[in-house]
Amino acid sequence: MNQESARLPNPSTAIGGDGRGDRSDAMLLSVQDLHVWFELKRWGFAHAGYVRAVDGVNFDLRQGEAIAIVGESGCGKSSLMKTILGLNRPIKGDILFEGQKLSELRGRSLQWYRSQVGYVQQDPYGALPPFMSVRRILEEPLVINRVKDGEERQARIVKVMEEVKLFPVDDFLTKFPHMLSGGQQQRVVIARSMILNPKLLVADEPVSMLDASVRVEILKLLRGLQESHNLAVIYITHDLSTVRYFSEYIFVMYAGQIVEKARVNDLLRHARHPYTHALLEATSDPDAKNAEVFKEVPPGEPPSLVNPPSGCRFHPRCPHMMKDLCDVQVPPDFEPTPGHFAACWLYR
């Protein structure tokens, strides 16, 4: 047992040790040509096609970098996230974490990978087992990752609860999820995702189910954790208004593909892709003027992921559609300004 654990990086020391200094520029996560398709079956066994939830996604993530993935419901962002968490298997392509292929991880190395990736969920009440106390909830990941020493477990639980500002710690330890407010529940969820000292945090709409008053606090908390632990964060949302809080890059996803990648301010000010324009238009700000303005929203609905449109997937809804080009050829990533990529023929 001891020999085995010596071969593997120790999850508790990986961050504090060699991770931070010179290797901070190294790629932490690299998603390469990722395809996540779900098979459709007829009569329970006959093949009837695929749902192409994620269809050719590429991106890299450095240690300490935060990205936001934005898109409407059903665009494949949740499937992408679950694949990164190792809950779905890609049909093609792979994910590299610190140079190791996720598809090749097995047994204890897979367990190590899971300890390196924290997961913050959308619905804080549903994310906590209702029959476990806060102590038990936070202890579970430690038990599963073979932290055998009870005192060490206790110390780590207290430390992480202080980090997410659940004071006084002792009062919260014995409470059950239904005794906590939504904000406190989400803090417990964040504490659970942080307790194994991960290098990457996947946050799936972490504030969408919270009261507006608590949202900012939770976002600030996540921002603070990201800075103090030099975390890489993948922040998934459909709400562009919360993106600015802590991500440096925004990836816009449409129909299983990333259509635009840019720095946050760049994208919000100079959006290139017609879909991003539409998305920004739809974002509502509490402004009295909005009540009188009619917003232009592209007609139609998101395409079927079983039979996606040929060429650019947005072309049936696009106001700038160019016949015989957009509906025939898949646009590659163009770079209209340095560091700003858009998959649209307008920028060829």
């Binding site: 300890s115 997961y119 969920q121 619905d123 209702p130 990941p141 194994l196």
Partner: protein, 446 residues
């Protein structure tokens, strides 16, 4: 743990739960008492031993507490034995022969005559058997000679079969003639202190004689007796632990295995789930009782075999579908996804994340299920498929039915085990319904 404690404290707010708990505690104490005072071998001896165990009991006698409810007091059984030195005096004459006087006082205060009278003699001698002469002294001072004879080593003297005594009593059978008021017709018992005096003469130095006088009454013991003179108390007492053990083991065995199988099916899905579902559907259309009857007829009627078959047949029952429906919902909860994301193993998810969600639903069901298995065991016994060795409640009812208890008016024979079955069922049902209200708060308003 604290959640369980809270539920328990809440339970005490329901009067029906308290009554149920008290009855269940009573049954458990009764079981413990039975197992300690009448160990298994002793129970089997008392229930299957044969005539020599039961000879002192009357046939089909009712329980003695009948007399508390009737004005006309029925005769109760009495056993008087000189073996413990009761009323025995020994004196020696000049030739070295012993004169033994055994005197049994009988306080008779009943309004009916006993059923039968017998004296059982045991004696010790080499060649010359002792001689006894028996006299009956009535409260009004009459003295009736019952008989003179020499006794063998063991000898049964049935008073009703002695023609000389019959003639001496003027044609009245002794159980009536000895206790009747003189010259009253129809005969009425005379209440008061009677005495049976046995004078024995032994003709050898170490010779001895003992007597046991049995008055077979219409009532005997706490629970009465059956057609074989067996005391029903033994069977009623022993039926308690057997019924509780059967009910509890069957209920626990089925619910827990069913839950675990349902959880495995839901979690692994695919062909595992398919197989479990198909087995359940086939099992649901198989007739349960006929299979049990077949097993007990052709294979074994041991209660443990029946218990095993019951559990096996009930595991893939309708409950698997209910649990599956709940598990399918729980399986999709975000907290299960989170557990997978931090690396919980399949077994850990099934036992630590899936099944705890169903426990609140399971506990009331388990409690309500216990009496249904108790009843099942009783029903099988009534059908004549009970355990051949163990005395159980169902077997008493079966015996009663086979011997026409209800035609002949031996109601106690059926009602005693039936009452215990009803009390057991009621207790668990009351507890179960209260638990249901606690664990499923939506029912509270009802």
């Amino acid at each position: 743990m604290s959640a369980l404690q809270r539920s328990f404290r809440e339970l005490l707010r329901y009067p029906s739960a308290i009554v149920g708990l008290i009855i269940i505690a009573g049954l458990l104490i009764l079981s413990a008492y039975t197992l300690i005072t009448i160990p298994y071998r002793e129970a089997i001896r008392l229930w299957r031993g044969g005539e020599e165990v039961w000879y002192q009991n009357p046939k089909n006698a009712g329980p003695t507490w009948f007399n508390y409810f009737t004005r006309r007091k029925l005769s109760e059984s009495m056993i008087l034995s000189s073996k413990e030195g009761l009323g025995k005096t020994i004196s020696q004459d000049s030739q070295g022969n012993n004169r033994i006087v055994i005197s049994f006082p009988i306080d008779y205060s009943f309004d009916t005559f006993p059923l039968d009278l017998s004296i059982y003699f045991t004696s010790v001698y080499q060649d010359k058997p002792p001689h006894v002469s028996i006299t009956w002294l009535t409260p009004d001072g009459r003295e009736i000679r019952i008989g003179d004879f020499s006794v063998k080593r063991t000898q049964t003297f049935r008073l009703a079969q002695d023609s000389k005594l019959l003639r001496r009593l003027g044609g009245q059978s002794p159980e009536k003639g000895l206790f009747a008021k003189p010259n009253v017709s129809p005969p009425v018992p005379l209440k008061g202190e009677y005495e049976l005096r046995i004078e024995g003469f032994t003709f050898e130095p170490n010779s001895d004689v003992d007597a046991e006088f049995v008055v077979y009454g219409q009532l005997h013991g706490l629970a009465g007796t059956d057609h074989l003179r067996r005391d029903l108390t033994v069977a009623l007492l022993w039926g308690t632990p057997v019924a509780l053990a059967f009910g509890l083991l069957a209920a626990l065995g089925t619910t827990i295995t069913t839950m675990v199988i349902a959880a495995f099916g839901v979690w692994f899905g695919g062909w595992v789930d398919e197989i479990i579902q198909r087995i359940t559907e086939i099992n649901l259309v198989l007739p349960f009782l006929p299979i049990l009857i077949m097993v007990s007829t052709f294979y074994s009627r041991s209660i443990w075999v029946i218990l095993g078959v019951t559990i096996v047949l009930s595991i893939f029952g309708g409950a698997i579908k209910t649990y599956r429906a709940v598990f399918l919902q729980v399986k999709e909860s975000p907290y299960i996804e989170a557990a997978r994301a931090y690396g919980a193993s399949n077994l850990r998810i099934i036992f630590a994340y899936l099944t705890p969600r169903i426990i609140p639903m399971l506990i009331p069901q388990l409690v309500v299920l216990i009496p249904s298995f108790v009843f099942l065991e009783a029903s099988l016994a009534v059908l004549g498929l009970g355990d051949p060795v163990l005395p159980t409640w169902g077997k008493i009812i079966n015996d009663a039915q086979a011997n026409g208890a209800l035609y002949q008016g031996y109601y106690y024979w059926v009602l005693e085990p039936a009452a215990l079955l009803i009390i057991t069922g009621l207790a668990f049902a009351m507890l179960g319904f209260s638990l249901d209200r606690i664990f499923n708060p939506r029912l509270r308003g009802l």
